[in-house]
Amino acid sequence: MTAPILSISGLSVVSEFDARPILRHVSLDLEPGRTLGLVGESGAGKSTIAKALLGVLPRTVRITEGEILFEGRNLRILARRELRAIFGDAIALVPQDPMTALNPGRRIEAQLTDGLRLRRGLSAGAARVRALELLAEVSIAEPERVLSAYPHQLSGGMRQRVLIAAAFALEPKVIVADEPTTALDVTVQKQILRLIRGLQAAHRTAVIFVTHDLGVVARICDRVTLLFAGSVIESGLTADILSAPRHAYTRALIAAGPRYDRPDAGLKPVPEAVVAQTWLEVAGPGRQG
């Protein structure tokens, strides 16, 4: 295992509002150029990790302990100026919902060139040229027209391509993809996954792929970390975990997914007993949520 480019160790986050734990001693490592799947049900803390990595945690939550190391530097103690070169620059985001992630009132060109102009000091003309390259790179056929369009004039798949182009604009070392395919239909999903995969290989970018879809994990992730109620319950190589899950919850989660080879089998919810047992493990007795 090479040295991780990004490493979270013992990260705990609580809600300011009622001191409820949101993350409990979460640790994970991301190697350069690799893809880590972050899997869990709603509320497991996936998006909180994504936000912490981008320095945009809401003001209603607070990090209580743990470290986030990027290239060996602790992001929690770094000066603001140094952080600016990391958040949104060396670490970029592909957001979840392409329908709401673009500003409806601004043209694509303005939104795509923001980072290039602010962070790289490019002129408007140079940024436009770069934006056209980026759009071509995400297989957009008419980049000129897309640049002058408003988001509502583009389809969901197109918008997600634009967002991916924007994420890769600053040549980040890590991309946090927060369920980038959840809001898309299955055929477009497949194209978008292939696109992310291709760009990642071309740019040697590491990706943290937040999802609740184990099918997606199997397809693109090298390693996977399973979260439950803010705790890591299992972590390892994707192939190992999917073929030989150690934790009962993981097994139930894998069994719960639809099977293409047995369409009549239906969906099996994770058994109550397994959920209760997992709660007991992560939160101790007497406390659920």
């Binding site: 709401t100 056929a141 197109m158």
Partner: protein, 299 residues
Amino acid sequence: MMEASASSFVAPGGPALRARRLAALLAEPKVTLGGGFILALILVALFAPWIAPKNPLDQELMLASVPPVGFTGAEPGYLLGADDLGRDVLSRLIYGSRIALIVAFVAASLAAFIGTALGLIAGWYRGWADGLISRLVDIWMAFPPVLLSILLVAVLGAGVGSVIAAIAIIDWTRFCRVVRAETMAQAEADYVVAARAIGFPPIHILMREILPNVVPALLALVSLEMGIAVIVEAILSFVGLSVASDTPTWGGMIAEGRQFIHQTWWLFAAPLVALFATVLAFNQLGDGLRRALDPVLRR
């Protein structure tokens, strides 16, 4: 397959888009009618000296209280009749539109500016800044606006400037509330989160990411506010707290006409109709603009 989906995009961009948007704006009857009326009124106010048939201050005591054309005893050249001092009502109406429009535009813009600035601050920073501004709005809105405006003008002294200041000082709260709520909603949007992650300073995010999306709602409000400003100016003129009495204003004309309402009703009716039509036009324009400019409503 991939290429097909990537080009499944039909809307034209650039100049074509702008033309289409203008067309959408003009296809909205509320915009064309309301805006047309306001535009005509602006032209009338600008070119008042050339349009007005008489000097609005010229008294012709022999012709005092002649009725409008079409009534018995009407005097040719006095289309809407003359007041008790023999001044041409139409000319006074035309000159009166100047004050009405100046107050409408300047006061509404000022109120919008103050309210928007404070609303953006409250909605973005929340915490104590929001608490302070929101409490201020609550207190402000508890005052009866007309009384407060009369009080303010009485303190500041009569005059157009005071009227404008009074309206702006009172009515910024309308804008503040709407902008604050909208800013809070927008602050959660992914594009704002992305802008924060990239490291744009708050001022940039507020101006470029949030404000443009507040503008459609704001435009409607500004237009409504212009209507309100016209009314408040008329009220202040009515109680004699606006401009000096030798400058014709609609409110002043209503006040003068009120005294003789049983004898010379046209002195009362003419400025009232002008006021009514202007306020209606501002309101319709605001509503139409909101419909035509909102990218979501337009879809």
